[in-house]
Symmetry: C2
Subunit: 338 residues, 2 copies
C-alpha cells in the first residue's frame, strides 16, 4: 500500500515537496490555509533578481502537481497527533492519517504597526513592500491615496529585522534585494520620481544582486546609510521622515510622498501550536529548529517530521526549492527504512 505524506503549507516549499514526493511514488495530502496555492510569492508581482512575473513560477509549480496529491485549500491544520507510529492530521474538523509530515508553513510578514513610530496604519502613504507589489500588480506603479503619482519615495530597509526592540534580531535576507528591485521599478514606472533607500548594510549577496544594485545606481536611486527614527504626516498626505545618516553622522529630515517599509520575515504564530503538538522546540529566532544546519537541514528533532522553506528562517525561492528536494529525499529515506 502506498504511504501518505502530509505537507502543511502550499507555498513554494510545499508545492515543490509535493511534486517530488509524488514522483517518488507517495500519496500526498497538501494543506493550505489560504484559498489559493502559492503562499507569499503568489501575491507578489515580480521576483528578484530577474524581475520575472511571480505567477510564472507559481503556475509552473502548480501545473506539475498530479493526481496523487490531494489538495486541501482553506484548510487550517489545528492539530497533529501521533498514533501507532503514524500521524493524525486534523484540519477543518476532519482527521486524516499520514506516515510522515513535512512542515512548509512559511512565515508571516512582520506586522509593520509594531514599529509604531513609523506610522504604518496611521499615516496614509506609509505602506509595506507587499502593498507596493499589489500596486504594481494592479496599476503598474505606486499611487498615493489621493490618486497622484508619488514624486518622492523612501524605502526603509530592516523593518522588523535586525531590531532587538521588536524581538527580531536576525536579518530577513531578501528585503535589501527586494527594495533595490522595487526602487528600480518605481524609477521605471515614474521616471521623474526621486527614490531613496535607507539601509543599514546593503546585503546584496546572491547571483545577480550586485548587478541590480549597480542598475539602481545608474538609474538614479539614492542610497543613504541610515536608520529611520520616526515619521509624521504633513499636508497633502506627505510624510516627514527623521533619520540619522550614519555615514555623515548627521540627523536627516526629508519630506516624501510615500514611505515603503521593507517588512521582514517573521515566524508564523500558527506554526507554534503545531510545534508544540510535535514536541519540537523553535530556534532562538522563533523559527523551526533544524536538526543539523550543515548536514540535515530538513530534519527536525521529531522522528518522521521534516521541514522545508521559510518556516526554518528567512529564505529566498531558490533556497526553498532546493530544501524541498532535500526534504522529499529524506522523507523517502525515512519511509523506506522502516
Amino acid at each position: 500500500m502506498s504511504k501518505t505524506v502530509a505537507i502543511i503549507g502550499g507555498g513554494i516549499a510545499g508545492l515543490e515537496t509535493s511534486i517530488q514526493l509524488e514522483k517518488l511514488g507517495y500519496d500526498v495530502t497538501l494543506y493550505e490555509k489560504d484559498k489559493a496555492l502559492g503562499g507569499h510569492a503568489g501575491k507578489w508581482d515580480r521576483l528578484f533578481p530577474n524581475r520575472r512575473h511571480a505567477t510564472e513560477v507559481i503556475d509552473s509549480l502548480t501545473s506539475r502537481i498530479k493526481d496523487k496529491v490531494q489538495i486541501n485549500l482553506a484548510a487550517t491544520v489545528n492539530q497533529i497527533k501521533r498514533e501507532n507510529g503514524s500521524f493524525l492530521v486534523e484540519a477543518n474538523g476532519k482527521s486524516q492519517k499520514a506516515d510522515a509530515i513535512v512542515l512548509t508553513t512559511g512565515f508571516e510578514l512582520f506586522p509593520a504597526n509594531k514599529k509604531e513610530e513609523y506610522g504604518y496604519g496611521i499615516f496614509e502613504n506609509v505602506i509595506t513592500s507587499a502593498e507596493l507589489e499589489s500596486m504594481f500588480s494592479s496599476n503598474g506603479k505606486p499611487l498615493m491615496t489621493n490618486g497622484n503619482n508619488p514624486a518622492k519615495v523612501a524605502f526603509i530597509h530592516c523593518v522588523g529585522s535586525r531590531d532587538e526592540k521588536v524581538n527580531r534580531p536576525y536579518c530577513s535576507k531578501v528585503c535589501c534585494v527586494t527594495a533595490v528591485k522595487q526602487a528600480i521599478e518605481v524609477k521605471e514606472a515614474i521616471p521623474t520620481s526621486d527614490v531613496y533607500c535607507f539601509y543599514m548594510d546593503l546585503r546584496m549577496f546572491g547571483p545577480g544582486y550586485e548587478d541590480l544594485y549597480k542598475e539602481a545606481q545608474v538609474k538614479g536611486v539614492n542610497f543613504i546609510r541610515g536608520r529611520l527614527s520616526e515619521t509624521s504626516e504633513m499636508e497633502g498626505g506627505r510624510v516627514l521622515i527623521k533619520a540619522e545618516d550614519t555615514l555623515s553622522s548627521k540627523p536627516l529630515k526629508m519630506t516624501v510622498d510615500m514611505v515603503v517599509l521593507m517588512v521582514g520575515m517573521s515566524p508564523l504564530p500558527s506554526t507554534e501550536k503545531l510545534l508544540k503538538d510535535l514536541e519540537i522546540t523553535p530556534n532562538n529566532d522563533g523559527f523551526v529548529q533544524v536538526k543539523d544546519y550543515h548536514l540535515e537541514p530538513t530534519h527536525t528533532e521529531a522522528d518522521g517530521v521534516f521541514v522545508a522553506g521559510a518556516c526554518t528562517g528567512p529564505n529566498n525561492i531558490t533556497d526553498s526549492v532546493n530544501a524541498a528536494h532535500t526534504a522529499a529525499l529524506e522523507v523517502h529515506k525515512y519511509l523506506t527504512s522502516e
Copy 2:
C-alpha cells in the same frame, strides 16, 4: 542494467550528490582532482555559524558513501564527450561511460596576489583566510612568521569580491561571516590581541550570523567600515595598512602584526574547459549558468548535464547540500524519463 552518473568534483556538493544518487539505485563515478575528498571545506578548521570542526561534516559525508560509488582521487577530468546519447569522461588517460553528468567542480579561492597593493606573497605577515584556518588547525592560533603571537590583527573583507578592478563584481557571500568567526577565534586564542574588521557592508544574513556578529562585538572585535587601499611592510614584519574609513570619510593608517585577506570565491579555471566541451556558456560572473534560477537551479542548458554547489556561484555548505539533493532528483527524473 543500472545506469551510471559521473560526478565531477568531490567537495560537499559532489559527496552529497553521490550519496543521494547511490541511494536512488545508480552507479556513480566520482572524480576528485585532489588526493582527498572534501574540497575546500576539508581544508578548513571550523565552520560558521556554530564553529563545529569541518572534519565532522566531511567524515559524516564520506562515511555515507557506499560500494556503488567508484571514487577516483587525483583524477583530473580532461574531457567530456557526447557519444550515442551518453557521455565519455576522460580522466588521467582513461575513458569511462556515463549516462548523465553532474558538475560539482566548486571554486577557487581568489588568488590574493592579484591585488598587488595588498602585499600578499610579498610581505611576511599578510595571509589569507584559508591560511589562517590552517594555523588554527595546526597551532590553535595565528602565528607571525617570527613565531610570535600577533598583538594586532586586521581582517580585510571583500578581497576579490565586489571589485570591478579584478573582474569580480559579485559578493562571495561567506567571507563576512567567516571573518567574524575568525575574529572571534583570534580573540579567544589570544585574549590580549586587538582585532579589526575592515568591511564594506556586513552581510550577516543567515541563521545565527547576527548572533556571531553580536558575540564579536561583545568580545571586543572592532568593526571599521572602510576599504583597504594598500599595505607596506614595517620593522619586525609588522604591516602598515592604509584605508579610508567610509563612516567618518577620513583616511586611516594603522600598523598591525598580521593582515588576513578574506579571499572570495572565484570560478575555477579548469571548469571552463569542461563547459566548452559540453557547450554550456558561463554566466556573467564566470560561474556555471543554471537554466532557471528559481525553478531549475541545478539544470544546465545542456541535456543530461546537471550542476550543484559553488561552481554555480558563491554558496555555503547548506546551500550545496540542498542543491545536491535537487541535482540527484533531477538526474533521476532525466534517467527514468528516457
